[in-house]
């Protein structure tokens, strides 16, 4: 074998309990997906923090660049009408 075989990095997502979505918990090294799942179970849920785990090779994640932050996310910032607080409702009106 080669003198160095670094195990690749995996991103771990944990569903804390039913009804919640998977949330990024951290990362770890593993030789393959099966071991990534098992290592994630041992490392990130040993205090009962999860009911389900996803693992994704870190290299497979495509991310937006923070340097493009403004142009990339700016369009979403100027549409306040998407948020409920945009609308004025008279006091006393309920269930809205």
């Amino acid at each position: 074998m080669s003198e160095r075989t670094d195990w690749p990095l995996w991103e771990v997502f944990v569903r804390a309990r039913r009804g919640l979505s998977h949330t990024h918990a951290g990362s770890l090294h593993a030789p393959d997906a099966e071991f990534a799942l098992r290592n994630a179970r041992d490392l990130y849920t040993r205090r009962g923090e999860g009911v389900s785990i996803w693992v994704v090779p870190s290299a497979a994640v495509t991310a937006s660049s923070p340097d493009e932050k403004d142009p990339f996310f700016a369009p979403a910032a100027d549409k306040p009408y998407r948020h409920p607080t945009f609308y004025e409702i008279p006091d006393g009106v309920k269930h809205l």
Binding site: M1, W7, H29, P31, R38, N39, D42, R46
Partner: protein, 233 residues
């Protein structure tokens, strides 16, 4: 209760051996994994020994000849392949045993139901590693085969009857051979064909006859407790 002692000592001794890996594991992720297994087994041991008496008195004040664990679990860690082979052989026995116990209504049923889930994972961990070591590199293959061969002679004892257990371990033997054989085959390893117990010592561990390294293990485990008779910790 000799059955509680037998099962409890198995779990206690294997847990102790796995605990010896702390700080020495081949990769950091495996530090966490081996400790998880050791902690599961220690938890089982505490429940089982408490069924038979005071857990600490039983663990720390019995002589070597009074321990009822199988010889397999007391075998030294050796290299990682030996540790994995030991775990594979033992978990492949412990899992169906606990499932049988859980299905019954004996005193071990509640513990066995919970512990079977833990052992399911131990067996999975051992299988995954057996596949990788067996079907990994030439070196790992050779080491894993050596380990499987070396520990083979301690596996016959697993299926000896245990007084008061309520389950006949000999009924588990064929299933065990199938399950272990299947993993070894997938791992490109050869099922050992030597004798499955020393001729002079069939069932020895369960009757209090152990191997030389066990005495040293107990000396280390018990020395502090025994140095302070009656003290609380």
């Amino acid at each position: 209760m000799s059955a509680a002692l037998a099962l409890g000592d198995d779990a206690l001794v294997l847990s102790h051996r796995l605990g010896q890996w702390a700080g020495h594991a081949p990769v950091l992720e495996e530090e966490v994994a081996l400790a998880n297994i050791a902690l599961d087994l220690l938890g089982q041991a505490r429940v089982l020994l408490s069924l038979a008496g005071d857990e600490d008195e039983l663990a720390f004040l019995r002589e070597e000849r009074a321990f009822r664990n199988v010889q397999l679990v007391e075998q030294p860690n050796g290299d990682f392949a030996h540790t994995i082979a030991r775990q594979l052989y033992f978990s492949a026995y412990q899992l169906p045993l606990y499932r049988e116990l859980a299905a019954g209504d004996g005193p071990f049923a509640p513990l066995a139901a919970k512990a079977a889930q833990e052992v399911d994972y131990h067996l999975d961990h051992a299988r995954q590693w057996t596949l990788r070591l067996g079907d990994g590199t030439q070196e790992s293959h050779a080491r894993m085969q050596r380990a499987c061969d070396a520990l083979w002679r301690y596996t016959g004892e697993l299926f000896r009857p245990v007084e008061g257990l309520g389950v006949d371990p000999s009924a588990l033997e064929q299933g065990w051979l199938r399950s272990v054989g299947e993993v070894l085959e997938r791992a490109t390893l050869t099922l050992p064909d030597g004798p499955r117990s020393g001729g002079w010592a069939a069932g020895a561990g369960r009757e209090g006859l152990h191997t030389e390294s066990f005495g040293r293990m107990l000396a280390e485990m018990q020395h502090l407790h025994r140095s302070h008779p009656g003290a609380s910790w």
